[in-house]
Symmetry: C2
Subunit: 244 residues, 2 copies
């Protein structure tokens, strides 16, 4: 496709996956991102439920988690954001209905909402790419909902691993070796529990089970999917919803 241009930031790389973008589009993305960026240390909450950010918030580097906090302290992670993901699009002065917390050192760029909309309206390629990215983001949340509602603990975790591997693969963050694929995985077991609606203890047990079956290896903050095919099969992972 547009590999010739080698877009320099994660947003460009991501959008180019959803629709063919020409050189003008990629330069427009560059201009959008040519504003002061925020560096965020790991575990810092940098967007807060109730905030009304005026700009589009894009994650350029690192991982982040969306979190909903209940008044009694229960926590639900509703999604993991990866480089190139849009964290929030303001509409009028709507309040955020979730918080966002960095999982690694992260870089955020606040993009002027008017400029964002204008670029979408001037290039049909950009409009399509942005719309598709939104649809995929919605599909990911819907799948997560299916996980929580219908799947066993084993399936929830395995499905999550497969999904993350797939998403990371499309932005070149997965290393292949033999049958196995591996990637940096900055998520603790407690956070996995908050994401999957399980207790940390049970997450640990299921991970041990996966390990003992030779499906995964998780060490040094690196996750190895040793038999991705088998894992995808056992967890009913079908990547159709991730593809435009």
């Amino acid at each position: 496709m547009s590999a010739a241009f080698m877009p320099c930031n994660a947003l460009g790389r991501r959008l180019a996956r959803y629709a063919p973008l020409d050189e003008t589009d990629l330069r427009a993305i560059e201009r959008l991102c040519a504003v002061p960026r925020h560096r965020v240390p790991p575990r810092r909450e940098f967007l807060r439920e109730g905030d009304r950010p005026g700009a589009v918030q894009v994650l350029l580097e690192g991982w982040a988690q969306r979190l909903v906090l209940l008044p009694d302290g229960r926590r639900q992670i509703t999604g993991f954001a990866l480089p190139g993901d849009v964290l929030w699009r303001p509409s009028g002065a709507m309040r955020l209905d979730f918080s966002v917390i960095a999982l690694t050192p992260a870089m955020i760029v606040p993009i002027n909402a008017g400029a964002w909309d204008q670029i979408a309206s001037e290039s049909s390629g950009m409009a399509l790419a942005l719309a598709r990215q939104e649809r995929v983001a919605e599909a990911i949340e819907r799948r997560w909902l299916v996980n929580l509602g219908q799947r066993t603990a084993f399936e929830r975790l395995g499905h999550l691993f497969c999904e993350l591997c797939h998403r990371l693969d499309t932005i070149g963050m997965v290393t292949r070796s033999d049958q196995s694929q591996s990637f940096a995985f900055p998520v603790t077991q407690v956070e996995l529990a908050e994401a999957t609606g399980l207790s940390p203890v049970h997450v640990n047990r299921v991970l041990r089970e996966m390990r003992s079956e030779g499906l995964i290896r998780l060490e040094q903050r690196t996750l190895h999917l040793l038999k991705r095919q088998a894992l995808a099969q056992r967890t009913l992972f079908d990547p159709a919803y991730l593809e435009p």
Copy 2:
């Protein structure tokens, strides 16, 4: 607000809630909907996972459910759609990642995607209303996810009832009498189970519990919330995420 114009269809009524619309906007909505509509009988699946509808699909009358079906037969309802809700916006030729099934006799209108986008780009009021409606729809799904991940069976069902009551209230489909509010409720206990990730048997038990506490009455396909305040409190329902 714009009560003076009395928009005649559900889409107009809904959008007017999210941003002030002028007479031109409301007439534009009317024109959009002035195309052949589809009548759908209850329990008919009228959009199918994998389809690539070319038009924006809007529910004008009746209730519908979004459903994700797993290969082994497990079913998860990921949302209930009410009159005025957008069921799907096409982006390129993206595939639906869920099915939609009518719960009551329903009326669907397929709106030309180009005309939809154009109207949004010509009126800032419409653009805002549409964007806000999308944000709210996303927030509803996120809340549902929190329900499945963190809440007890009692909370899941009660929260769902409060949410539906709130949404129905904004389109005038709730009857108030004394402290209680009631509305037509075309959802079976099996479907409630598929929506909340519980078994039908357990849904039944929890409903009985709510009834015995005098919180609800559910009969003749009508749901009465007898003490909505109490129910909202016990189920940690906070309508902030539903409001623009």
